[in-house]
């Protein structure tokens, strides 16, 4: 299991290729039958307004602790083989990935459910806050998430 909170750009597919190579070298090949992945990216539009940038604030220390706790709980609940979670902080531009959640399990039911549950828990519990820079020059804090279910 790996949790990353990073200010550098996030490359989901490269990260997954590297992480899975490690996973296979430690667990062996053929141990998982399913992986489910979610990538959340920054859109250039939010609540009808054009957005040119975003600042992602977090609570250093607590953020990592909360992510670690939820990843462990979800791994146990769905009996996952492995889990990878990466989240950006700092300044972002439209199109850039914000979050990557990947899980590996024996069968697909657990993979789909664990991946989605982890994202919903992250969105309601993990201390991150988005401030948007609109193209008209104004700034605003994002105040609520879109519905997950």
């Amino acid at each position: 299991m790996k949790i990353r909170v990073q200010s550098e750009p996030l490359s989901p597919w490269g990260l997954l290729a590297d992480y899975e190579a490690q996973l296979i070298s430690s667990h062996g090949s053929g141990k998982y039958g399913a992986s489910a992945v979610f990538v959340g990216s920054m859109r250039d539009l939010n609540e009808g307004d054009a957005v040119q940038g975003m600042y992602l604030e977090h609570y250093p220390g607590m953020t990592e602790k909360v992510l670690q706790g939820m990843a462990e709980a979800i791994s146990r609940e769905w009996n996952l083989i492995d889990l990878l979670l990466a989240h950006r902080v700092g300044d972002l531009h439209p199109g850039e990935p914000i979050v990557l959640v990947a899980v590996w399990s024996a069968h697909r039911k657990a993979a789909f459910e664990a991946c989605r549950a982890l994202m919903e828990t992250l969105k309601s519990q993990a201390p991150f806050w988005k401030r948007e820079h609109l193209t008209d020059g104004s700034q605003r804090w994002v105040e609520k998430n879109t519905a997950g279910y």
Binding site: L56, I98, K123, A126, P127, W141, E143
Partner: protein
């Protein structure tokens, strides 16, 4: 006793600072910490609380040396 207060995001802007060390009497709750740190301002609706980096609530007791954080609803992911 001393507790360490932190504010995040819009609350940091509202309070004009990202935190402070606050002196407060024994037997205090998170609400007491808020009142001491904010100079008696009412707490905005929807404020979330963490004590020592664990989600908590305003009725919880605080202890000397605790880190008490106040922040708006989270919007990551």
């Amino acid at each position: 006793m001393t507790v360490h207060v932190k504010f995040f995001a819009s609350l940091k802007e509202l309070m004009g600072c990202d935190g402070a060390a606050v002196e407060i009497g024994e037997m205090a709750t998170v609400t007491d910490v808020w009142l001491a740190a904010s100079g008696g301002k009412p707490m905005p609706a929807n404020v979330l609380v963490a004590i020592n980096m664990e989600h908590g609530d305003v009725h919880q007791a605080v202890h000397s040396g605790d880190e008490v954080a106040f922040f708006p609803p989270v919007t990551g992911g």
